[in-house]
């Protein structure tokens, strides 16, 4: 059992609600190795990183350190055992200095009275580690790369032997990434280990010793990085066999252009020269995390300000607001159903009618009968379970919440429907129901735009797919001709192009 590993995971699984995001993962982290975790969006790599750092509790499986089984693996226990995690969203106290942040919770004190020795201790630590920062600079003034250094120093101050870095390079420039890689190598030379969670293949190949590939929450393989190539990793991430989800037949009977976007530019970085979607057509957006897919959708619907023209059924939207777009029949189902979609304190009925209150009221008084009938119709159409009109939506499963969310936006019989991650975090049954409904809407003549991190889903639903990178539509592909592996390779090559420019 003891394989010389510092940290061992056996059969680790994590369940959120009724969805398994991670199952049966075995992993060994040895001293002095940089271990990459890679996978598609939603493959579970970030979740696994958080489990190692004690931030998420595993719902099944065992974790042991130096061969000793750990009953309770949470952040304090992880730290006691020398395992620290550097979150994607960095956790510094902005008003405190670098030194104070590094030694937060470890201050030398005399009966609670601070000895104010953080600065000199940090000088020593920086001497040892070779990481340089101004100890007195307030954390709020640091760049993201500098904040990451603080996090690394913080881990070192706690004598961490394993540091989990969760997507640390997302906001870094090329030089900063190189610098971070140097820090990782240095940590390795001191006998410490780094768990490097990222979706950048090049970074994995460049710096890691071992790489573990995840797919759909399961471990595909762990191997020496030296034996891997871009090709071998991509095919492992996707799997040899196509996933078993069956998609409904694609509608191919198109009508007039219902959504027409020209020269759309927004401060959040979208830049779309031209996008047309016809009645009955399903168009897909594929892109990596942070490629700006959602931002384009938000700019189109008026959730974010933008310049350029958006026409719905030949009629330009003069006032760019959600309200105006909804009135013209252009609606968006947002990606985050808890944060942006549903009001958890309101029942199903009130959630469904929320964007359509003007239609379901007279003189400001809500027409309860009409509202009730509408909710009943949509619950029936999507087979929402439990089928209670006034049900407490906060207790529903992810799949049923998602059905309510989509139903909410269909209540107004939209002409153009944008779906952002329509099946994120839902079970297979709900996923198929949602896909069937999308195809049915298209057959009824709705113009549909599907945005999804799962390339498979975009290819399975859409008849035309755009590759999105940096807020632009960089390529158009025919989903019936091109496979998932080619799309992913193309996305990575666009991303590579951006890297070399930067």
């Amino acid at each position: 059992m003891n394989t010389g590993a510092l940290l061992s995971l056996r059969g680790v699984g994590v369940r959120f609600g009724d969805v398994d995001v991670l199952s049966g993962v075995d992993l060994d982290i040895r001293p002095g190795e940089i271990h990459g975790l890679i996978g598609e969006n939603g493959a579970g790599k970030s979740t696994l990183g958080k489990v190692i750092g004690g931030y998420y509790r595993a719902t099944s499986g065992a974790i042991s350190v130096d061969g000793r089984h750990q009953d309770r693996w949470d952040t304090p226990t992880a730290l006691e055992n020398g395992v620290a995690i550097m979150h994607q969203e960095l956790q510094l106290v902005p008003a405190l200095s670098v030194a104070q942040n590094v030694y937060l919770g470890l201050e030398e004190n005399w009966f609670g009275l601070l000895r104010r020795s953080e600065r000199s201790r940090l000088e020593m630590l920086m001497e040892d580690s070779g990481l340089r920062l101004d100890p007195d600079a307030p954390a709020a003034s640091l760049t993201i790369a500098e904040q990451q250094k603080v996090e690394v120093l913080r881990a070192l101050a706690r004598e961490a032997r394993v540091i989990v870095m969760d997507e640390p390079t997302a906001a870094l420039s090329k030089t900063e990434v190189d610098q971070l890689h140097r820090i990782m190598r240095r940590l390795r030379s001191e006998g410490r280990s780094v768990v490097y969670v990222t979706h950048f293949l090049n970074d994995i190949l460049e710096v890691t010793d071992k790489v573990t590939v995840l797919r759909n929450g399961e471990l595909v393989k762990t191997g020496e990085t030296a034996d891997e190539s871009k090709q071998s990793l991509v095919s492992a991430m996707l799997g040899g066999v196509k996933s078993e989800t069956l998609y409904p037949p694609k509608p191919r009977d198109f009508g007039d252009v219902l959504l027409s976007v020209r020269d759309l530019k927004s401060p959040n970085g979208s830049n779309v020269e031209r996008l047309d979607i016809r009645a009955g057509e399903i168009v897909g957006f594929a892109g990596l995390m942070g490629a700006g897919r959602t931002e384009i959708a938000r700019a189109i619907t008026g959730a974010d300000p933008s310049t350029g023209t958006v026409e719905v059924a030949g009629k330009p939207l003069t006032e760019r607001s959600i309200r105006a777009a909804t009135e013209e029949g252009l609606v968006m189902v947002p990606e985050d159903r808890r944060g942006q979609g549903l009001v958890m304190t309101l029942p199903v009925r009130a959630n469904i009618s929320l964007p359509h209150l003007a239609r379901f009221s007279r003189a400001g008084i809500v027409d309860k009968k009409g509202e009730w009938a509408l909710a009943e119709r949509l619950i029936d159409r999507f087979s929402v379970r439990p089928a209670i009109v006034d049900g407490d939506v906060s207790n529903y499963s992810g799949g049923n919440q998602q059905k309510v969310l989509i139903g909410k936006w269909l209540a107004g019989n939209p002409k153009v429907l944008i779906l952002d991650e329509p099946s994120r975090g839902v079970d297979v049954g709900a996923r198929e129901a949602i896909h069937a409904e999308i195809a049915r809407l298209a057959r009824e003549g709705v113009a549909i735009l599907v945005i999804s991190s799962e390339i498979d889903e975009v290819l399975g639903l859409a008849t035309r797919v755009f590759l999105v990178d940096d807020g632009r539509l960089v390529d158009e592909i025919d989903p019936d001709e091109i496979g998932e592996a080619e799309v992913l390779a193309a996305l990575f090559s666009h991303q590579g192009f951006k890297d070399s420019v930067a």
Binding site: A303, S321, I322, R323, A325, T326, M332, P334, G339, Q340, G341, L342, V343, M344, T345, L346, A350, S353, L354, P355, L357, A358, S361, G364, I365, V366, K368, S394, N395, K408
Partner: protein, 311 residues
Amino acid sequence: MTRAKMAKFLQTYAVLILIVILMGVLSFASDSFLTTRNLLNILNQNAPLAIMASAMTLVIIAGGFDLSVGAIFAIGSVVSAWLAVNVNPYLGLLLAPFVGLALGYANGLAITLLRVHSFLATIATALIFKGIAIALSDGRLISARIEGFTWLGRERFLGVFNAVWLMAIFALVLSFALTRTTFGRQVLSVGGNEEAAILSGIRTKRVKIATFAIAGFAAGLASIITTSRVALGQASAGEGMELQAIAAVILGGTSIYGGQGAVWRSVAGVFLLALVSNGFNILSLDPFLRDLTTGIIILAAVGISAMGQRR
């Protein structure tokens, strides 16, 4: 599930259960409690606070707090009494609620334009309003013993005090607005999930401003009842009423995190607090124990509210 339902039930009906228990105990302990006269008096005395608590319910459901209603009450008192003495008593009664509405609207604007939390903004505006009230009255009491002014707070209609009628009508209107109108739905959604409300095309800022304007109007309305009853306008009127109103709202189980609540329960919260006071008076108990008891009841209510929130 059953625990969640239990918590929900407690959150909804705890205040009613407590009122029933307290009324039972007081009827048993004293003969003078369960009389029409005593009960009507309790209603009459607490009508202004109940009006303010009703409006505060909307503010809190929309995710805000209004600490300035006590100061608006003071301005209402000074303005109505001054107008009654110097211009026309009826004009004083009519205008003060609308002065409150304007001040509440100003609160709403300050909060949405400056993007500060309503807690902070209304602490500041409360001081400003208080200062205005002192300046207007020149720090003096304004005596308004005029028939055309005092009828509102002192007389009855169909055997019941005018104040009680006003309170009932106002609470019913707000309750209807919250449960049956699009405005009410918007208030609930803004407090429940502001981002979802924005993405549903709701003008969330307008909704918030409206709740503060209503709270201001309510403070003005409450103020004319009290001022007309005591026939005295003063800048020190309404002190501490904002906290009493908030306490009553929380006692009624409205979530301080916003998104859920009911007007009738806040009114019930006011009367629960009133019954505690009344009981102490009737039984001639130590007034120190009264504050202690009130505090414990409020703390228990907050605990129950937090229980319902934990999901």
